[in-house]
Amino acid sequence: MRKNTSRVFVLTISILMLFIVGASYLHITNGVFDMSVIDVVKTLLRIEPNPKFDLVIFEFRLPRIVIAALVGIGLGMAGVVLQGITRNGLADPGILGINAGAGAAVVIFMFFFQLNLVTADMSRWVSILMMPMFGFIGGAMAAALIFSFALKNGHLDMQRLILTGIAINSGFGALSLFLSLKMNAQDYESAAVWLAGSIYNANWIFVAAMLPWLIILGFYVYRKSYLLDYFQLEEDSITSLGIGVEKEKIKLLLASVGLVSACVSVSGSIGFIGLMAPHIAKQLVGIQHRYVMPASALIGACLLVIADFIGKTVFAPSELAVGIVVSIIGIPYFLYLLVKSKA
């Protein structure tokens, strides 16, 4: 039985990899001007370098795909953790308001440091590297608020959790809007684009900013993923097995907030990936979290690369923010889950 599960897992992971490669291929060859595979391969392998292709691939398309994939991985993993510790299949960093909290903190940061995200250049790389840190503070504050309001007699009340998320979203959203209006016109523009959840201004600095977070925290939550199996039991049973429930939950929560913040600080608020990816992953590989976690990460990456490709091409030459594409796909899925869920 166990062998079977791991075989399914390996198969799923391989197929997902293929999907990501396929989506990346579409993404990299299509755009304002289309390139052939041969051009792309030649450019990547440094055969007959062509400065024009170099620019398009290395400065625009490749970082964008990499960011999309990384953000998808981060959100997919954070979603698994959040759904696991809240024992709520509808939990998602966007719905819970962690995105909004991290977003507001990043706006505050941009406001005080006059940081223009659209034209980020190398001279600002220190401040850009700091952004996930700020996002983390905001996200952690939002998480603390959410959980303190949703706690009823020591237990998390699921409905309150989501409602509080709605409230936190409006509150931090209003704060972000207020602050972004105080900025000068150019900063405002960049903040507005960023808030909508977009990655078309991706560059390598952003990759550098989020990668350490993703590697360290990603590795941490993967190591701890077996705990999420136990968290499916109710609190009394977990305690009786000798697991320090609260301590572990807080550690995992903070790790997922860190993941989300790193994502939000480069891509703005993108919701519903953290909702969809874990569900799809569980459909594919079962409920053991050491399988669900990597599968969900790859599904997140896959979804986001595809969504960004859609956003880039469907209304070309205008770009549709990837956050909006994801919402349009994700909300029907959310409603479907709501219909399916009991009680």
Binding site: Q232, L233, D236, S237, S240, L241, G242, I243, I287
Partner: protein, 268 residues
Amino acid sequence: MQTAFRMENLSSGYEQVRVFEGLNLSIEEGKVTTIIGPNGCGKSTLLKTIGRILKKQQGTVYLQEQNMQNLSSKDIAKKLAILSQTPVAPGQLKVEELVAYGRYPHRNNVNRLTKKDEEMIEWSLSVTNTLDFRNRELAQLSGGQRQRVWLAMALAQETSILLLDEPTTYLDMAHQLEVLDIVNSLNEQHGCTIVMVLHDINHAARYSDHLIAMRQGVVIEMGTPNEILCADVMRKVFHINARIMEDPATKTPVCYGYDILKEPTDEH
């Protein structure tokens, strides 16, 4: 006499509500001890408190003469297992997987089960007669089967003490006895100390060495089934006029009928 639990001046409850206060009590090792009493008397609260699922508010609990406060939760989990009243688990979980969860306190490498782990799981499944459906999902089981699987998970924890909170709730009559028989054999054949909460006083009398009778957070009386299952104690604890005789088959007292007390002789 070795004590499994010794409580000194123990107080516990929920949030603002104190359920019991200043309790001093010892529970013997190697015996089956059952806590009985009317709804809300604090029997489950007591069980959860000594099983450290509920934080005590005051006092000390000694687990095998060691102050529980000085033991880590994982160490406690190697000494005692507690099965709560209505445990829940995802329906897609397989029986074997759930039972394997019970090995948590003994596992260092979290991804692979050791030979010892496998053996304990095997043993737990066989003791609880759940081997036949070890590969089935929980959602496909009947209530009685599921309760036995939960018991198997607690057994897989490999502890000498087992705390059971109303292990027979929601089971029909045959399945109730099935579970209690397993509990009995664990005590007799493997020397497990059992502390449980039961609603049915006849079951309590039949399967226990000691009974603890509680009312409103106070231990009214404790002793052997014959000492507790008598008209006098029943009047004080449940406010009933109980008619009691000895079951000729099991030689234990049974309450075969009762009436509500007309004028309750309240102890307060």
